[in-house]
């Protein structure tokens, strides 16, 4: 608004100065004086405008080069405005010049010039006739004065003047001094003097006749005659007479003079006039064009400003800054656009906030799900529609022992080739995925370094509502322990029953046999007695054997509660080893005990039993052909989650047949001719009571390595195992009781 006012005021000022200038060019008295000043002002204005525009152009080029937003549009608008304004003005200028030249030229005409000259000559001629008539009068007066001395000449002059109707009659000396004068107008003190040329001319005795301008519009006839001296001693004198011209003629003559003078003046000023008109016109044009150009810059900037804002705003929004608000623009369509833009960004900002919020919620949901999945005891795998692994939870890694998270995006076959140990698992689930079964479940048995694993898999195809369209999810549990526990429980029950059902009749059988022997041995003859003795002996011995067997069963079925204490496993190994070292068997023992072994919480008695069982087992497994060798190795093992003590017992026996492996730690599984088949089952039970694990593997160079791990004395773990195992033991005890 302010800018517009300034522009308007400047424009009006310039316009008025130009108007004055053009007025001055027309020779108007009012502006004539100001002409030079106005010219200066206008030229100064032009210089200022040029400087202003130069600066604007410089700025624009700079911005254009720097690719400032809006500079291109501004430049285009400016160029358009300039072309629009300059073109018509230039055309008008061209034709104005043409008209100006012709107009000024048309003022002049040879015939008019001639006519004016003729009029002038005519005036001079007509007055000339009268002048020659008057000359005689003056000459007469001169003759009459000739003899009159200087001092007495004044009255005569007066007489001559009034009688001849002269306006003024003056007598001069030869040097031009006034001797006497007489004037019609009494107030006139100083008579019309002789001009020096007149004076010189009259020296040559010739009269002078002519017109002289008295004032602007008044002419007089002037006649000067020279009066020869009356005596040789006296000086010659000059008599000058002025005659008034009748008013009518005077007016006519003045009119002719004025017309001729003006025409001549104009004719002389023909070129200067043209130049000054052209100059004025050029100034007007230049100022108009410069003002237009400047206005073009000004209004282009003003027009582009909201567009620039919009462009910058749009870029800001594109860059993600949704808080961009533009300053309100004018009330036109641009203003509407700016308003709409602001409304749009507001809505986008709201939508963005909502999206962000929902994304946050989703992330929380995902995190929650991840936590749930991570703490799930089941392994979870998802596959996309092309049966490529999409995700897994940590439990899946633990169960399968394969870093599945490194294999996302791989096909099942590729994973199988990378990790042959889960080949069986993949073989089982592959057909279910290929058949796109909605719901399925299957059991997989895996054999790996960690031993035998039984997995229960449940698969389902994913609903169409989520991203993994046509994908599958597989949930699997390691039910090895469960199965084992069930089996153990079953065996425990069998053992309890056996103990109960078989132990009870054994004592009466034994007693009866002993009684038979006591009563009838002495009464029988030697031959029968021997039979009886042998038979009863066999009965008692076998019953004894049965009793021991039942006791072993019942021991297996109900073991007393654990007496946990922190112990050094190496010490117990050393104790047990001491017992066997002295044995006369050919077997050689070697110990590799880790000196830095941490303590474990364990029941000393049970551990001893465990070691006895294992060593005995190893010794029994040994064939007699080659010297036996048993190695006991302890070491501390640490994996990502916990710390263990690992004990390995290696022998160089024949190894375990493949078909026994599966049920190695179950009761009544044995490869030996003698033995209850409970040794390893008890070992496993003890290890499990201590929260450890056990596995066996055939060594490549022959023999078996039984590896067992016990958790290092971390209180919680022991306590957990304690509390878990105690009720079970109690129930077992109860049942046994």
């Amino acid at each position: 608004m302010n800018g517009t006012t300034v522009v308007a005021i400047m424009f009006v000022l310039l316009l008025s100065s130009l108007y004055l200038l053009s007025g001055a060019t027309q020779n108007s008295i009012l502006f004539g004086r100001l002409y030079s000043v106005l010219l200066g002002i206008n030229i100064l204005a032009i210089v200022l405008m040029i400087a202003l525009i130069g600066n604007n152009i410089y700025q624009m080029i700079k911005q254009y080069r720097a690719r400032v937003t809006g500079s291109r549009l501004t430049a285009r608008l400016v160029v358009m405005f300039v072309i629009l304004s300059v073109t018509p003005v230039s055309v008008v200028y061209y034709f104005s010049l043409e008209f100006l030249q012709r107009g000024i030229d048309s003022w002049f005409d040879v015939r008019v010039e001639d006519a004016l000259k003729d009029a002038l000559e005519l005036s001079q001629a007509s007055l000339g006739i009268r002048m020659h008539e008057l000359l005689r009068e003056v000459e007469d007066s001169g003759k009459q004065i000739q003899g009159v001395p200087d001092g007495l000449v004044a009255p005569s002059l007066n007489d001559f003047r009034s009688s001849a109707g002269m306006a003024e009659l003056t007598l001069f000396s030869a040097s031009g001094r006034i001797i006497a004068t007489s004037s019609k107008e009494t107030g006139r003190l100083v008579p019309q003097g002789l001009s020096d040329t007149n004076y010189l001319k009259t020296q040559q005795s010739r009269p002078e006749i002519g017109l002289i301008p008295i004032s602007d519009k008044e002419l007089s006839i002037r006649i000067a005659v020279h009066i020869p001296p009356s005596h040789p001693v006296t000086e010659k004198r000059i008599l000058q007479a002025l005659y008034d011209i009748p008013e009518r003629i005077n007016n006519l003559a003045a009119s002719v003079q004025t017309a001729f003078g003006d025409y001549n003046e104009l004719a002389y000023m023909r070129l200067p006039l043209k130049y000054s008109f052209i100059l004025t016109l050029s100034l007007v044009l230049l100022l108009s064009i410069l003002t237009a150009i400047w206005a073009a810059f000004y209004y282009s900037r003003r027009m582009v400003a909201p567009i620039t804002d919009l462009v910058e705003g749009t870029q800001a929004v594109a860059a993600g800054n949704y808080d961009t608000r533009l300053p309100p623009a004018s009330r036109d369509e641009l203003g509407q656009l700016v308003k709409s833009f602001n409304e749009m960004t507001r809505k986008i900002a709201l939508a963005d906030d909502a999206a962000r919020l929902s994304q946050q919620q989703m992330e929380q949901q995902n995190a929650y799900l991840e936590v749930v999945l991570a703490h799930l005891s089941s392994g979870v795998l998802t596959f996309d529609d092309e049966h490529h692994l999409h995700s897994s939870n940590p439990t899946a890694f633990q169960i399968l022992g394969v870093p599945l998270h490194e294999n996302y995006g791989l096909a099942l076959a590729d994973i199988a080739s990378n990790y042959p140990q889960i080949q069986q698992f993949i073989d089982v689930i592959q057909p279910h995925l290929s058949n796109n079964e909605q719901e399925w479940h299957d059991e997989v048995t895996l054999f790996s370094g960690a031993g035998r694993q039984v997995l229960m898999c449940r698969g389902t195809s994913l609903p169409h509502t989520i991203t993994l369209q046509g994908g599958h999810m597989i949930v699997f549990d390691d039910i090895t322990n469960l199965q084992q526990a069930q089996r153990n429980a079953a065996w425990g029950e069998v053992a309890r029953r056996l103990a109960h059902e078989i132990k009870n009749p054994l004592t009466p059988i034994q007693l009866s046999a002993e009684r038979l022997r006591r009563k009838y041995l002495d009464t029988m003859d030697a031959e029968d007695a021997e039979v009886l003795d042998r038979s009863t002996h066999t009965i008692v011995q076998q019953v004894q054997t049965l009793k021991e067997m039942v006791k072993a069963f019942s021991d297996y079925a109900r073991m007393p509660a654990l007496q946990l204490q922190a112990i050094d496993l190496n010490t117990i190994i050393a104790e047990v080893y001491e017992l066997y070292r002295t044995n006369e068997s050919r077997t050689r023992f070697s110990l590799q005990l880790d000196k830095q072994l941490p303590l474990v919480k364990a029941d000393v008695g049970r551990l001893r039993q465990l070691l006895h069982n294992l060593i005995k087992n190893a010794l029994e497994a040994m064939d007699d052909e080659q010297p036996g060798q048993i190695r006991l190795i302890t070491q501390a093992v640490e994996d990502a989650r916990s710390q263990y003590i690992e004990l390995q017992i290696e022998d160089n026996g024949p190894g375990i047949p493949e078909d026994v492996f599966e049920h190695l730690f179950e009761p009544y599984v044995t490869t030996k001719p003698k033995g209850s088949g409970l040794g390893l089952a008890i070992v496993k039970k003890i290890i499990e009571e201590h929260g450890g694990m056990i596995r066996a593997e055939n060594l490549p160079e022959g023999g078996v390595s039984v590896i067992l791990r016990l958790p290092v004395a971390s209180d919680e773990r022991i306590t957990d195992t304690d509390s878990d195992s105690e009720p079970q033991l109690e129930t077992n005890n109860d049942a046994a009781a």
Binding site: T25, Y93, W107, L271, S276, I278
Partner: protein
């Protein structure tokens, strides 16, 4: 109508170009033309004397008009010649103090009907006619007994200096002539300042 009866002028195809050419030529000439020796105003001699307790000035000045100025005069353009006179008190330690200034103006005009040159003293209004420009200018060049300053205004123990110059007043020319007159040396008719001590 006037345009129709103007046979002298051939049709101009590029009036603007011609005018601009003439204009630029004029500026060029004005800038580079050597100063004409003939056209100049020169103060030849100045003298002051005390007459009836008034200092009067007598001067002889050479007026030589350029052809262009003469042509303008004969075409009826009135020319004004100004004479600037200043009386200054001389001061040794400061610039001179101006005591009095005086400007005399003379209007020169050619009267076509009577074929007379007229000098009109703008200060007194007195008008004189002459038959020739030479006579006119020589009369104009003789300044006799021009009252300058009253004796009462002059302090006896001070020194005074009188400065004089004459010049053609371009500002009094008709407006259309002024731009060219300012640029052209033909019209830059001016004498240098002429200084002399006031005779006490």
């Amino acid at each position: 109508m006037l345009a129709c009866i103007n046979p002298a002028k051939p049709k101009q195809r590029w009036p603007m170009a011609r005018s601009l050419r003439a204009l630029s030529l004029g500026i060029l000439i004005a800038g580079f033309a050597p100063l004409s020796q003939a056209a100049e105003f020169k103060v030849r001699s100045v003298a002051t004397e005390l007459r009836d307790n008034v200092y009067v000035l007598n001067a002889r000045i050479n007026y030589t008009f350029s052809d262009e100025a003469q042509r303008a005069l004969q075409s009826g353009i009135p020319l004004i010649i100004l004479m600037d006179i200043g009386v200054e008190r001389q001061r040794s330690w400061l610039w001179n103090k101006e005591v009095a200034t005086l400007q005399q103006g003379y209007l020169l005009l050619y009267h076509a009907l009577t074929k007379k040159y007229i000098i009109n003293n703008l200060n007194s209004g007195a008008q004189h006619n002459y038959n020739s420009l030479t006579a006119t200018l020589s009369t104009l060049g003789q300044v006799t007994n021009l009252p300058l300053i009253d004796k009462g205004l002059i302090e006896e123990d001070e020194r005074y200096q009188v400065n004089l110059r004459v010049y053609l007043d371009i500002e009094s020319l008709p407006a259309p002539m002024r731009p060219l007159a300012y640029l052209s040396s033909d019209w830059r008719l001016s004498s240098d300042w002429y200084s002399w001590p006031l005779q006490q």
